[in-house]
C-alpha cells in the first residue's frame, strides 16, 4: 500500500448498514470531500464481534476468516466508522486467531491497514471544519469504550468537533464511563445494561446538550433507544453525520 494512496476501502459495519445507512453516506461524503476515493468491498456482513464477545469463538472465527479474506483481497486503507469494530479487526482478531498461524498472519496484515474513522480524519488527514458554515449546537460527546480504551483514541473526536463553528462541547459527569451497551450484554444482562444506560442518560440530559455524538453506532442505538423511550428531544448522531451535514449540499455522495 503506497503512503499517499487515495483509495479507501469502507467497512460499513452491520449497524450502519442495516439500522443507520445515513451514517454510511455521511462517511462517504466526508471522505470524498477530502479528495479520497471510496470503494465498498463485495461480501461484507459483520466483523464477528457479537459471537466473539458472547464466547462463541468458533462461530466468531468463521465470520472473521470470511471478513479477513474479503479485505485481504483489497488495497489501501480500510476505514471503519466504529471504534468497536475497528478494535475487533485490529486487536481482538489477533487473540481470536492466536492458535491458527496462517490466519493470524492475514489478521496482522489486514489489521495493520485498518483505521477508525475519527482517528483517520484527525491524525492522517488533519481534517478541520472551521471553513464550513456555522451551525449552533450544544453537543455531548460520548467516548465509546473500545475507541478510547481499546484503540486509545481519546482526542481525535473532540478535535474534529471543536473545529466546527458554532459547536459547544458540553461536559457531563463520568463522561468516560461505559453506557452499558456491550453488544449482546445489552440483552443477556439487560437489567444491568439498562441501569447503566439510565445513569448515563440522566447525566447527558443534565448537561443541557441538544445533540449526542459518538463514534460507535452500538452505543448510539442503545442510548438513542433510551432517549426515544424517555421522549427526550436530544438527537443522536454519528460523528460522520455531524461533520457531513455542514458540507455543501450540492454534491450528494
Amino acid at each position: 500500500m503506497s503512503e499517499g494512496s487515495k483509495q479507501i476501502q469502507l467497512f460499513p459495519t452491520c449497524l450502519v448498514d442495516e439500522i443507520r445507512p445515513e451514517a454510511g453516506w455521511a462517511v462517504v461524503r466526508v471522505l470524498e470531500a477530502a479528495g479520497l476515493e471510496v470503494s465498498l468491498p463485495e461480501g461484507l456482513v459483520c466483523c464477528g464481534q457479537p459471537a466473539y464477545n458472547a464466547g462463541f469463538h468458533e462461530d466468531a472465527r468463521q465470520v472473521l476468516r470470511h471478513v479477513l479474506t474479503v479485505l485481504d483481497a483489497t488495497e489501501g486503507w480500510i476505514l471503519i466508522p466504529s471504534g468497536s469494530c475497528a478494535d475487533m479487526l485490529i486487536h481482538q482478531s489477533l487473540e481470536l486467531c492466536r492458535d491458527d498461524a496462517p490466519l493470524l498472519e492475514v489478521a496482522r496484515r489486514v489489521g495493520s491497514r485498518c483505521r477508525e474513522l475519527s482517528a483517520f480524519l484527525d491524525e492522517d488527514l488533519g481534517w478541520r471544519g472551521q471553513h464550513l458554515p456555522r451551525k449552533d449546537e450544544r453537543v455531548a460527546y460520548h467516548p465509546s469504550c473500545h475507541l478510547s480504551r481499546g484503540l486509545g483514541v481519546t482526542e481525535s473526536p473532540g478535535r474534529l468537533l471543536e473545529s466546527l463553528r458554532g459547536i459547544e462541547l458540553v461536559p457531563f459527569d463520568e463522561q468516560d464511563e461505559c453506557c452499558g451497551f456491550g453488544g449482546l450484554f445489552s440483552v443477556k444482562q439487560s437489567d444491568i445494561s439498562a441501569s447503566m444506560m439510565n445513569r448515563k442518560l440522566d447525566r447527558i440530559e443534565k448537561s443541557g446538550a441538544g445533540t449526542l455524538v459518538s463514534c460507535d453506532l452500538g452505543c448510539l442505538v442503545h442510548l438513542g433507544g433510551g432517549l426515544h423511550r424517555r421522549q427526550s428531544g436530544i438527537r443522536v448522531c454519528h460523528v460522520a453525520e455531524i461533520l457531513a451535514e455542514r458540507l455543501p449540499q450540492d454534491e450528494p455522495a
Binding site: P21, C46, A54, F56, V63, H66, C178, Q189, A194
Partner: protein, 467 residues
Amino acid sequence: MSAFQDRVREAVQNDHLHVAIERATSALKGRRQVALDSIPDFEQVRDFGRAVKLATIARLDEHLVRFEEKLLQNGFQVHWAEDGEQARQIVLDIARRRDAKSVVKAKSMATEEIHLNAALEEAGLDVLETDLGEYIAQLAGQPPSHIILPILHMTREDVGQVLHDRLGVPLTDDPQVMAKTARETLRAKFLEADLGITGANFGVVEEGAICLVSNEGNIRLTTSLPKVHVAIMGIEKLVPTLSDLEKMLRLLARSATGQKLTAYTSLVRGPKRSPEDEGPEEVHLILLDNGRSKILAGDQAEILACIRCGACLNICPVYKQIGGHAYGDTYPGPIGSIVTPGIRGLKTTSELPQASSLCGACRDICPVRLDIPRMLLSLRRESQTEAPPSLFWRMSMRAFAFFATRPAWYRTVRPIGRFVMRRLASEGWLSSGLGPLGAWTKERDFQAPARRSFQEEWRARQKEAGR
C-alpha cells in the same frame, strides 16, 4: 430466572445502595488521583509490579519451596491446605490443641473465601472481627461487599443504625462517635483472646515473612496480643524480596485507598524468640490452594498476579450498579468474576464472566495491568463446554455465522427480517417484542432497520451510474 439475575434485579432498583456506592467510590477516585500524582514514576512502578508478580507466579512452585524453607528457619509452623475444608480443619485443630475459647480476627478475604467464621462458631468459639468495617458487617450479619471496604454498601446512617440495634448505643451518624463506640467494645476483647487469625497481603520469600497492612492498628494487636497467631494466605501472594515488597506496597496503598502508604505495615517474622520478648508463642501459616494451582495451569493464570487492591471494583460501572453482594460470592467485581469461577468452578458461576460490558476500565486502572476483559472473554469461551448456553443462543450464533459468511444468502434472507421488524414497528421504532428484543425493549426502544441498507443503496447507485 437465576438467583444471580434475581439479586441483580433487586440491586439495580435499590437507590439507597447506589447512594452508598456513589459516595464511597467518588471519594476514593479523588484520593487515588492525588496519591498517584505524588509519584512521578508511577507508570514504571506499575510495569515493575506486573513483571515481578508475573515472574513469581511463573515459577511459583520453586518460590513456594524456598518460602517454606525460610519460614521454618524463622520458627513458623507451615501448613498446606488443598481446599477450604482442609484449611478450616487445620485452624480448628490448632484451636482445640490450645484449648482456645475466643478468637480475634483481622480482615481477611482468604478466611471469607473458606467460610472460616461459621466453622469456628459451630465449634463453639467466640469470633470477633476487629477491622471496623468488618466488625459492623459481622454485627449486621452480612458478608463484606467489597474486598477492601467491607461495608461500602452501607451509608454512615446505616452504620449508626446497626450499632444502635446491636449494641444499644444512642443513634448517631457521626463517624468519630461510631468508631469510638466500636473501638471500646473491641479493645476489651483483644486482651482476652486466645487466638489471633489474619490473612496476609504478601509473603516475602527471601525473608520467610508475611506482610500485613491496615489503617486501624487492629492487625498489629491481632498478631501480637494472643498467644497464637494463625495466618491464612493464598499461595499466589508471594514476592521474592523486601525491595519488591516495598514497590508493591506503594502500588497497593495508592490503588486501594488513595494513600501513599497504609498507616500500619506489619512484617511478621515468626514467633517470639525468647520468653521475655513480646509477641505470640506460636505462629502458623496456612498456605491455601483452593483452586489456585488449577487457575495457574489455565488461560487465566494472569489473575494470580492480582494484589487485591479493589481499584477495579471502584471503577467498574457494573459494580456501581449492582454492588458486591449481587455477585453472590466472596470476591465481587471484575476480579471476582475471574477468581470465583477459578476457585468454585464454572458450572455454578458461568454467569459472572457474562456480567461485564467489557468496557476495559478495570484493565486501565489495575496497578499491575491485568487484562481483565481478555480473561472474561476466555472464561466465556470456556463456558461453552463447562456450562453450555441455551439452545436458543447456540442456534442463533450458528445462524449468525452461517449468514455472515455467505453474503448471497444473507442478501436473500435479510429483507424478510427487515420486513417483519418494520411491520411491527410504529413510526420506525419497536417498543416491545419477544426473546432478546423483549429484553432490549424493557427499558429502551429499538430502531427498526432502514428501508434499504447502505450496501443495497450503494450497489443500486453504482448500477444507475453505469459503473
